[in-house]
């Protein structure tokens, strides 16, 4: 049971956002601009960063939700599974691998990111803004993951629930009201 009273049947961050709408609004706006806004990284690539960091933080709800959103964008469940297991052997671009290495460093601590990590991403063609956004997406999921698990919210076992949330968020973004779960 969650540590604060959230509406029944609302898993993960959904329940928390219903509990405190004043903080839900900027949280959703941040997710929208980072994951859905204009970018030279595809929506699928950005959701893979979110999924990977959430996996490293062992946040079941966020990793499953953003994995489902990435799957929807990429139309490929295998690549999502492979990135969660080991990005180095996943069928993704060298640039995204270099960015995911930076994201993994951010997950451990900001000070872990080295000049060499950033130079390696630049060498694979990553722009300054892509490096910035990777660091901020990784940092944001270190927040979201702690929020969701620190308050012990419900993480469903049923994969079809994540597929419903994934389809809605991938097509409607993060500012649309949460659709009731079937």
């Amino acid at each position: 049971m969650a540590h604060v009273p959230v509406p029944e049947g609302m898993p993960g961050i959904r329940g928390l956002m219903a509990y405190r709408p004043e903080t839900a609004l900027p949280l959703n706006q941040l997710a929208e601009v980072l994951l859905q806004g204009p970018s030279t990284l595809t929506k699928g690539e950005r959701e893979l960063i979110a999924t990977y960091v959430s996996s490293l933080n062992r946040c079941t709800y966020c990793a499953s939700t953003h994995g489902a959103i990435a799957k929807h964008h990429l139309n490929d469940a295998d690549v999502v599974r492979q990135v969660r297991e080991d990005p180095e052997t996943a069928p993704i671009s060298p640039k995204l691998k270099a960015l995911l290495r930076i994201a993994a460093k951010v997950q451990q601590g900001g000070r872990r990111v080295t000049d060499e990590d950033v130079a390696a991403a630049h060498a694979e063609g990553a722009t300054d803004l892509e490096v910035h956004d990777t660091v901020l997406i990784a940092a944001a999921f270190c927040m979201f993951n702690r929020y969701v698990d620190g308050l012990a919210t419900w993480a469903p076992d049923d994969e079809s629930i994540y597929d419903q949330i994934g389809a809605q968020r991938a097509t409607q973004g993060y500012l649309a009201p949460a659709k009731p779960l079937a």
Partner: protein, 191 residues
């Protein structure tokens, strides 16, 4: 030196928030709601949570800035120093000690917070909303600390810089000044 070129003369988080205004806006607004909005926790207590988490994440810029803000709000510097050094002995209420303990767990991982930690805070009178906000403030500073250090943002050494910054975030808050930061650029005075 920062990992990417950032606006000149704006140390720490300020340069990052000015680099990308559309991501900065919700981050600033969330901080304003959590640290300056209506709450049964004082602004000083909320700054202590930010200070404690930033200190544990070894983020020198954020820890120094929020220490200065907490000290200004509390009117003394002993509490923030003691909280960072040894929470068990710090001169804070038992409720704050229990909430800071939760914040310290969140800093490690959301999964580290236990039912016992929450029950202990409730026994000292913490409300659901105070527990919620403590967890979210701690989580937010896990974002800030990683953003600032992950980009290797400029961290000045001079205490005078942090005193001016504290004056701004205490007296003007966390939202962006309408005129921007052109009049707030900072040049290190140490050669």
């Amino acid at each position: 030196m920062p990992h990417i070129p950032l606006p000149e003369g704006l140390p720490g988080i300020t340069g990052l928030l000015e680099y990308r205004l559309d991501t900065a806006k919700p981050i600033r607004e969330m901080t304003q709601v959590l640290l300056r909005g209506p709450s049964t926790l004082t602004q000083g207590e909320r700054e202590l949570i930010a200070t404690y988490v930033s200190h544990r994440n070894e983020c020198r810029f954020c820890a120094t800035a929020h220490t200065a803000a907490a000290d200004l709000l509390l009117g003394e510097g002993e509490t923030s120093r003691a909280v960072k050094e040894n929470l068990d002995e710090a001169p804070v209420s038992e409720k704050m000690r229990a909430l800071l303990t939760i914040a310290g767990k969140v800093q490690q991982s959301g999964l580290s917070v236990t039912e016992d930690d929450i029950a202990a805070a409730r026994r000292q009178g913490a409300t659901d909303l105070e527990i919620h906000d403590t967890v979210l403030i701690a989580a937010l500073f896990c974002l800030y600390n990683r953003y600032v250090d992950g980009m290797a943002a400029w961290t000045p050494d001079e205490p005078a810089f942090y005193e001016r910054l504290a004056d701004r975030i205490v007296n003007r808050g966390y939202t962006r000044p309408p005129e921007g930061f052109a009049n707030h650029t900072y040049t290190s005075t140490v050669s």
